[in-house]
């Protein structure tokens, strides 16, 4: 049985939905953060799948970029979470509503 592009896309969409659901529903900032990573990786999976399907290396190239950005984002994001924890002694994002005036 050959694994067609549809499988990849379905898997990727599933991962993405899991990520979105996690971001929207979970209260722990770390988990929200991990869910964001999940969404990024689902996008990576799509890119790689299309790259193989179209026989072009551009998609793979983009994946590297995404991974670089994700790494940087992880560093900054975690640093922010630590900083917030030091200030508020919590990482529950319901308690972090200082965006409101």
């Amino acid at each position: 049985m050959t694994i067609t592009i549809e499988y990849y896309l379905i898997l990727s969409a599933f991962m993405f939905i899991v990520g979105v659901a996690g971001v929207l529903t979970r209260r722990n900032a770390i988990i929200v953060f991990m869910c964001i990573e999940l969404m990024l990786n689902s996008a990576n999976l799509t890119l790689v799948a299309f790259s193989s399907y179209l026989g072009s290396s551009v998609g793979q190239l983009f994946v590297f970029f995404v991974m670089t950005v994700a790494a940087a984002e992880a560093a900054v994001g975690l640093a922010i979470i630590i900083a917030i924890f030091r200030n508020k002694l919590t990482v529950n994002i319901d308690d972090i509503n200082i965006l409101k005036w």
């Binding site: 979105v20 971001v23 929207l24 929200v32 994002i93 319901d94 200082i98 965006l99 409101k100 005036w101």
Partner: protein, 645 residues
């Protein structure tokens, strides 16, 4: 020297700045007074040199324009700060700086000890600055700058003692009244200026007047321009119907009344009419209006003056009356005679006011002539100079008032008709009457003041200006001896001014021919009338004072009407002021402003308040909620894109 004429504007401005900025720091009154007076004194000397230089030139070279800088240049409008030195502006400049200087010196004595001495001199200098701009301007815009400037200074100086009571209210109210009434006139003046610009495409005097000679403009347009300009003049020069501010302007210090409200500012309207004589001459109907308004103002103001008891009020109505004469002169086309009367009036009326100031000073601010009497003994110099001024204004030959007033009367007879002459002569009789009533009640007869008053002659710094003005009042008329006496040389004053009015006089039609015999006859008649009026008043107030009381109680209705100034203030209050106040309060303020304008803004604010209380719910500060909205938005957008394929 003529090129330096701008100094007469710059120096008073400098004096104003020095006294205005540093005055409160300079504690020494002498320093302030000398700064204030010397700037005007130097201006006078400059003007005098410019005058003699102009006099030495042939007639066709006498006009010079000193252009300083361009002020406004917009489209076809080109206005510069340019001063026009010619026969008319030089005469006016001599009056303003000369009489102004004398009054400045007098003020050093009169204002001695006032807590705002420096402020007074700063304002006086600012006034001279504005007045010189008005006189020397070579275009309407600069004239208007001066016109508004003198109005401002008048306001500031009437309300100079802003914390003092004046009649039923305060001096500040009198100042406001003067300013607002003047603004009504200024509006007319502005309309006139707009119409001039529309018609002639320029606001420069020489351009407008030369175009008035060449352009074909309908009489109606000329009429409207002249009428609007004349409305402006009635405001500034206190003519019917806008004269009501001048009597109230007496709330100011007396030197102010002498300088602004007798000698100079109030003649600005006369000057303006004379300056635009060509336009007035092109609108004969409006000339008639000017003459009628002038003679009516002269007459009615004189009747009010007869019964007033406040020394300054009498002089104020006398000023209104004399200004009426000047407008009568303008209206009958005797522009030169009008300017001549401006000059002589400046001398004797300034003298009268300064004399009154001297009396008020001596009597500790008492202004009621019924509480004076017998002051001649205590203040001989003031009494003598006051008497000279009273004789001059009554038109007794050979004092200055005789020549100017009789010239006006003569032209009103020969150019228009006997009716104007007759009203003018009756007014002259009344003038002699109230002036001598004033003189006799103040300086002669029994002393009617209490023992708490210790009248004394004023210091030299006040009496010397009085004497200088008295000399001028005596000899001032000799520059304009009429042709009938001076023979082949003609009237020197007229010869001097004639180039200015030549165009206007060419346009006017003079009626018939009148002999010298007629002129001398009319002159003699008016002198006899004035003289008999003086003897009558002397008889009434010195020999049998009861007559005055009997007459006033016999004609109590008339007396009351005159005493209350024909109720004009009350009528204006009833038909203009109060309706405006009521309408402003109830319609404009409470309805238009309160309901419509405020209501509109309030309901707009309410609308935003309500709608934002709805939208505010979205801004709950929860990042996840924002993310949800974003996801829903993306999902919807994707859905929409997919469905549109």
């Amino acid at each position: 020297m003529r090129e330096l004429i701008y100094l007469t504007v710059v120096l008073p401005l400098l004096g104003f700045l020095i006294n205005g900025i540093f005055g409160s720091k300079i504690k020494n009154e002498k320093v302030i007074g000398i700064i204030g007076s010397s700037t005007i004194g130097i201006s006078f000397i400059v003007t005098l040199f410019a005058f003699f230089e102009t006099l030495s030139l042939p007639t066709d070279q006498r006009m010079l324009i000193v252009s300083l800088f361009t002020w406004l240049k917009v489209g076809g409008l080109d206005v510069s700060f340019a001063y026009q030195v010619d026969q008319l502006s030089l005469i006016m400049a001599l009056i303003v700086t000369g009489v102004g200087f004398i009054i400045h010196v007098y003020s050093i004595g009169y204002m001695h000890g006032d807590k705002s001495f420096w402020r007074f001199f700063a304002y006086l200098n600012l006034f001279i600055f504005a007045m010189m701009n008005l006189i020397l301007a070579d275009n309407f815009v600069l004239l208007f700058l001066g016109w508004e400037g003198v109005g401002l200074c008048s306001y500031l100086l009437i309300g100079f003692w802003y914390d003092r009571k004046f009649e039923k209210s305060t001096t500040a109210d009198a100042a406001k009244k003067a300013f607002i009434v003047n603004r009504i006139g200024d509006f007319g003046f502005l309309l006139g200026m707009f119409l001039i610009f529309l018609t002639f495409g320029s606001l420069n005097f020489n351009e407008v007047f030369s175009r008035a000679n060449t352009f074909s403009v309908s009489t109606v347009t000329y009429g409207f321009i002249a009428l609007f300009l004349f409305i402006g003049a009635t405001g500034k020069s206190a003519q019917i119907p806008l004269y009501v501010w001048l009597p109230d302007a007496m709330a100011g210090p007396t030197p102010v009344s002498a300088l602004i409200h007798a000698a100079t500012m109030v003649t600005a309207g006369v000057y303006m009419v004379a300056r635009t004589s060509i336009i007035f001459a092109s609108a004969p109907d409006i000339m008639m209006v000017v003459a009628i308004i002038g003679v009516l103002t002269a007459f009615f103001a004189a009747t009010i003056g007869i019964v007033q008891n406040d020394i300054k009020k009498v002089l104020a109505y006398s000023t209104v009356s004399q200004l009426g004469y000047m407008f009568l002169a303008m209206g009958v086309g005797a522009f030169g005679a009008g300017i001549f009367h401006v000059m002589t009036h400046a001398f004797f009326k300034a003298l009268l006011f300064l004399g009154a100031g001297s009396v008020i000073h001596a009597m500790h601010e008492e202004q009621d002539i019924q509480k004076y009497g017998g002051l001649k003994k205590y203040m001989p110099h003031t009494a003598l100079t006051f008497l000279i001024a009273a004789l001059a204004i009554s038109g007794i030959p050979p004092l200055s008032g005789f020549f100017s007033k009789d010239e006006i009367l003569w032209y009103s007879y020969s150019n228009v008709g006997i009716i104007f002459w007759l009203v003018g002569v009756i007014t002259a009789m009344m003038t002699a009457f109230y002036m001598f009533r004033l003189y006799l009640l103040t300086f002669e007869g029994k002393e009617r003041f209490g023992h708490d008053k210790h009248p004394h002659e004023s210091p030299k710094v006040m009496t010397i200006p009085l004497m200088v003005l008295a000399v001028l009042s005596v000899i001032g008329g000799f520059v304009g001896i009429p042709e009938v006496f001076s023979g082949e040389h003609g009237n020197q004053f007229h010869n001097w001014l004639s180039p200015i009015f030549a165009d206007a006089e060419r346009k006017l039609i003079h009626f018939g021919y009148h002999s010298h015999f007629e002129e001398i006859l009319l002159m003699t008649l008016s002198v006899i009338f004035a003289g008999s009026s003086i003897f009558l008043v002397r008889y009434i107030y010195l020999k049998s004072p009861k007559i005055a009381d009997n007459v006033s109680s016999r004609f109590s209705g008339l007396y009351k009407t005159l005493w209350n100034k024909y109720y004009v203030d009350e009528i204006y209050d009833a038909i203009i002021v109060n309706p405006i106040v009521v309408i402003s309060k109830n319609v404009l303020w409470k309805f238009t402003d309160g309901k419509i304008i405020d209501g509109l803004i309030h309901s707009l604010a309410k609308l935003i308040d309500v709608s934002s209380s709805l939208f505010r719910k979205f801004q709950n500060g929860l990042a996840q909620f924002y993310a949800l909205i974003m996801v829903l938005g993306i999902a919807f957008t994707l859905f929409w894109i997919i469905m549109s394929f």
